[in-house]
Assembly symmetry: D3
Homo-oligomer: 322 residues x 6
């Protein structure tokens, strides 16, 4: 029996306001604006590849909410499950892209956004569950008490309906302390279909240190996840498919904008998951992550043709194609 | 005995994010950024004219707070009384400048900014009261319970110290209802030295309708203010100096950006007040207001030379001076 | 029995490359880019109002085709009926917005675009006819022999299926001569449900001159259309509903960009048609046209809330709403 | 016997640095850059109309000098007579385009530019005199002692060679006082072929006041010029052709940038002069002036086709031509 | 007997529309515009060095044609041989500058441009042949049947007049297949004075593979060209002067824009050819190519002084010169 | 007894007009504008770190002078000692940021600026000497005869008042020859408290060559300075504290804009000097220099928090902090 979506997801989308490399945020008079949010990034990337995806969240009935929606619709994401609020705000965050010795800086201004007001009664459960997989992240439970309640509810209902969960830890130190994150997230990731966790988050949140393969195995053990995908920085990803460890080197890329690369990786892996082919997913994942690094914006803009060409090529090139 | 400042003021400063006329906020990918806030606008305009002014408020210790401070310092405003908070946000507001049939739209995102957390213990009272006049507006009491308590405290301490108050009603319908504003503001304006209230706000907040002169007299009666300045739209201002009614026509201007024109008017009037010359203040006020209309940004950028030249001229001109 | 779309349409979408007022196209080094096309403009405007619309056409499988599609998807238009061609071009046109004495200039570079290669075998007829009305324009038959054949085929199949036709004359002097247009268009508009024709086109294409009401009646007589909507320049529109003549004054607007205003008018009229309320349609039409004039781009960007507010207001205002 | 150029000219070209309307020069972080100079403007405008023109001056051998030269060459002006100096500066001037009540402001920074160092030995006299007419302005003698000597030398040599002079008074109050200008210019304009002088300059420099026709006649009397062209503000021009007074109304225009309009007028008049048709020249002049007003930059960018179309039309239009 | 031009050339010029690195073409709303075309690039670069050059082609009588002409005139190129067409288009091409893993992408939209309509009757043969050398490329014969006929005609007439030919293979895979190119180009390059062919094109078009020196010798053998210049990627160039092989290392450069570097190389080589000094030409060639890489645009903007300074320096430097 | 300022300084501030990397100055139509001047850069950087600093100079009473003042005030620099001139110019300089093989180019247009007209009678000596240290550079004596007299006067008065001098050689080859600089500067630097001289300037101006340590010792010997700080290019700095040689490696940085890095180094060293801790000063100096390299503009924009974080970190990082 066919389902409507390949993937549904629930999470926050913010407006990102940034200054380009070399300019100081505190001295600018113009800001670039892009939408961004971990779950929306995944849904948009998969839609760009031709997948049917839907994003569930809440947006204000004002130009800022419509701006966010336009970007998602342009990517091809279904928004039927969005709750439009007459009053309420959309979160924002500021980015100062920077050259060393300065790190790229992020300032969040996301408190009390529309999604933090949501509860289970506002979710269109039939629609949310009409999917092959639901993707969630460790950001959402940190947003508000309502969200901290809602995420376990979604997981419970998905389990009851036999819908697998994809979960990306995505630890945000500016939202909560490691111990709080560990306490909240550990029960949520038990038995998920796909668990995404960077080696850095494994150490910070779960206190798992050591060689990459050891960390991966411990993540698998402690979560009982069917598949675990662990990014190991610029080197690529390591994955556990339930029986063996797979390794996928990163695609060399020139870094224009780091933000969203992890979500692009997740999207690629889930694209492969939809095909029942985790190795393909890992290759797609590092390819999408490299594409995300090479362009501005949290959303990765691409096409099936572009990803296919990059998968076919040994590696990217700086030559002009004409 | 000389005092340090000509004018001190307490209020909120926000970051204004806007799109130019002809573009839709919901379809933009770039926002212009200016600082703005009724009280800061007044302090900055007076400083541009060579007056000693100080702005009291609270800002976050981050690039956005520093951006706001830089603009005020550039204008020449003293910031010794600003409370810097390690955590906290600066309010923002979005503006879509528009051509008819669309009105220019403002979307506030100002809840829970740093100033809303302030209380009397954070005010450097010696500094705030070391002034010839304190300027306040009807916006601040609407921001938070703390602010609603703080404004009467400032007024009480000022009275105890014999410092006159300038108060601009500045009703904001998106912050509170007319009745709430009337209840809160009526006691605050009793016996102030200068009361600013537009004819429109007189009707909306205090229910005073009728011919301009009648409205002005009623404002004077009900507030016992020493001087009342009432803007009557594009036509100019009417003022009560305690004995007679003065009228000052508006300076013809091409409207580039309406926001901040009322604050520029107040600054000009207070500039005249400092000279003990209300008619001069009214002429300065309409001149500064016209300058504010003719340029982007809430802060009016000008110089003593420019204002002097405009006061000397019968009216502005579209000729090139070379 | 319910149908899938409120309106389907078939036509060309181009990329518009423009310079702002005051700059010369021949001296620029940067061009603003917007999508535009008479039929796509109508579909997008109706989708912004919440209507279900679909656009049928052909686009190249390259970033330019995807750019066009993104804008339509962002507006909410269904693109299932678009034929994607591996090779082929998207038409472009250049606009030099100008101040008098210069007229705003348009340079078309649209020959041999993808749509000109289309034939009836490429149309998803089930989808195209799953609609309450089909909207066509007099531009498409002028594009290529294929298109000149395809438009009558669409009309014939629609008639066979009982689907009414909306037809906008939209004469383009740079595509064909008046006599050729008259010969081609006269049979196409016989008995259409809604005929749009400006007074100027009535004169240029059909040789109908005289007082507006006379011209309208002659248009109605010669086309046997059920409803005829005739724009009479900046004054508004005149309409024939089969029995009487309706008049609707234009909504006062500041003109930022004239292009697309006629399509916005058509969209508004068809919005009313969907409600079975032509007078409402005329009011919506002049409102959407005024909105289109006040913003850059061929697509009118708006929301149901904005249109409702403007319909409720007597007229637009230059005041700031805050 | 044919000559090489229709018109040669000698004068200064500066770089103009400006901010758009609504922005303050003192608060900007970006400046628009255009070349400009009264004589170069005339040469460039005539070259755009297909005339052979040459500009004589001096430029520094650096990117700023080359920038100026590129703009002139792009227009089609011959630069063989330019003296390139290894050391030296190009003058600049700053413009703050402004909305009322602010006038558009010009700040000159032109002292000691390359041209001020020139003397007669640097002029390629054969080339300068290989022309039908030489155009000079009242700006150049005010630039430096060298220039004050050079201009009479050019006039004397031209007379000796039988080459007529066109002279535009172009009084610049920021360069010299009216009395100094009058003393220097009066001998220079005796018996010139064409004298350009605005009614305002007639009053300021020569003290000639009164009704336009009276002023024109007095200008003609006091200069013994063969033809006198006097602009009378926004109303158009009045001209004396040696026997009668001609009047030409201005072409209605929307003012985007006033600077250069007077030079465009001179170029148009001289275009007609080349045809031996002063009335044509006046029509061309007001047309070019209107075009100059409608676009940014001192140089008017146009083409023979555009001017022909505007001359043919009764007046400009704000309609879109497509 | 002296000739008028150092070099004449015939070929197409297009408008290039691009987005900067990091932005996606399919998501942009603004395009940078530069002119570009292999032959025009060569003529413009040589003119910047003070050479007399002329470009023969066809342009439309519209702002886009005039824009192209302005850039060429600004560089100093003679346009007397350009055929202006009342109707017709100028080709365009789109560039998405990209960071790895994405290659910089080029999308051509050049079919049916004005030059494709040209035939021998439109060429001003006296002017074209009034030159020391004629430069042609392998792009032009691929543009249209007319161009495929015209190029051999030019070569035949040049030979008859004793004018040497410079020919750059410049294979464009998007215009024709290697076999077609080989068939068309092989007869054209027999006995040319200078043949330019990259090592990559030698392999793709002529099937010549192997060590660089071997490839170069085979190119020389199979073409009987007097001089062969072969770029070997980022390493520099190899040249055959009829007797020996010369090698010239590339000048280290930071790549900002690859497009036009090959044409800059050809211009530099031909500059040396004009001096009768091939080694100088190779040094100029790699210097101009490095300059082209370091700046945006197909045209290389430089000056005799800049090239002389770079030739004198061992290598470029990132130091500030002040 | 406490003094008012930590540091006072006297010198010129210019407007810097630049084009970004990849664009040619001679082909631009827009310039970025930043203020800059060696002494002002030092005063602004120290003010950003919370130090009390004052800048003495002269500026014109026009928007350009006010622009310069606004930037300094925004940084927190006291301007009470600035002489405002009714007539006069502010110097400008043009920068073409460039990629190899092109060097970044600087073109000065600074002759006859306001500061060159100053003499001792215009200095507010009480204010200038109310400081812990006075910072001067080797640029100022090269500006004009007045400045060449004024600098020794300042040094003499400072010595008389017991105020130590900080002196940065800052040789500018475009202002004077090495021999002239050596003759003028040698007496000025005798016995200064801190001497800044790059290894390159030691060789160019003073003819001191050899190993870095040897050069440093010779600089110390020949100047009798208490402390000597010598930058050794990208490797960092070497310093002599009167007894031993200290070495401080540079902080790795990505170079966005080299201009101002040397002044940032001086500011950092003087920040440490104020703390009586030269090693801290060296660490601050290389940190501020790295920050200056990583951002556009001559002024380094930073905060005490940012510098503290960088000093605490081993090195900068390209990671995103969120």
């Amino acid at each position: 029996m066919s389902v409507r979506f390949d993937l549904t997801t629930f999470g926050e989308l913010m407006l990102r306001l940034s200054v380009p490399l070399g300019e100081r945020l505190e001295a600018t008079n113009q800001l670039d604006l892009y939408p961004g949010g971990a779950e929306a990034n995944v849904a948009a990337a998969l839609a760009r590849l031709g997948r049917q995806t839907a994003w569930f969240s809440s947006l204000p009935v004002n130009p800022l909410g419509r701006l966010a929606a336009s970007h998602l619709r342009a990517a091809g994401v279904d928004l039927s499950g969005v709750i439009w609020q007459g009053a309420g705000r959309i979160g924002t965050y500021y980015v100062e892209f920077a050259a060393p010795p300065r790190p790229t800086q992020v300032i969040y201004d996301r408190a009390d956004s529309c999604i933090t007001q949501m509860d289970a009664s506002q979710v269109d459960w039939d629609l949310l569950l009409d999917t092959r997989i639901i993707h969630l992240t460790g950001i959402t439970p940190a947003l508000s008490p309502g969200c901290r309640t809602l995420i376990p509810t979604i997981i419970a209902r998905a389990r009851a309906a036999g819908i697998p969960i994809s979960f990306d830890i995505n630890y945000r130190a500016k939202l909560w302390a490691p111990a709080a994150a560990q306490a909240a997230l550990t029960p949520l990731i038990q038995g998920v279909e796909v668990l995404f966790c960077s080696q850095e988050d494994a150490a910070r949140v779960f206190g798992i240190n050591g060689e990459p393969e050891t960390v991966l195995r411990q993540l698998a053990d402690s979560s009982a996840a069917n598949k675990v995908v662990m990014s190991i920085g610029d080197q690529g990803v390591l994955a556990w498919d339930g029986t063996t460890i797979l390794q996928q080197a990163a695609v060399p890329a020139q870094i224009v904008d780091r933000i969203g690369a992890g979500d692009a990786l997740a999207a690629g892996v889930l694209h492969g998951w939809c095909e029942g082919d985790l190795p393909l997913g890992l290759r797609c994942g590092v390819t999408l992550a490299a594409l995300a690094l090479s362009q501005y914006g949290d959303f990765v803009i691409t096409s099936p043709e572009e990803v296919a060409a990059l998968l076919a090529a040994a590696h990217g090139t700086s030559r002009v194609s004409r």
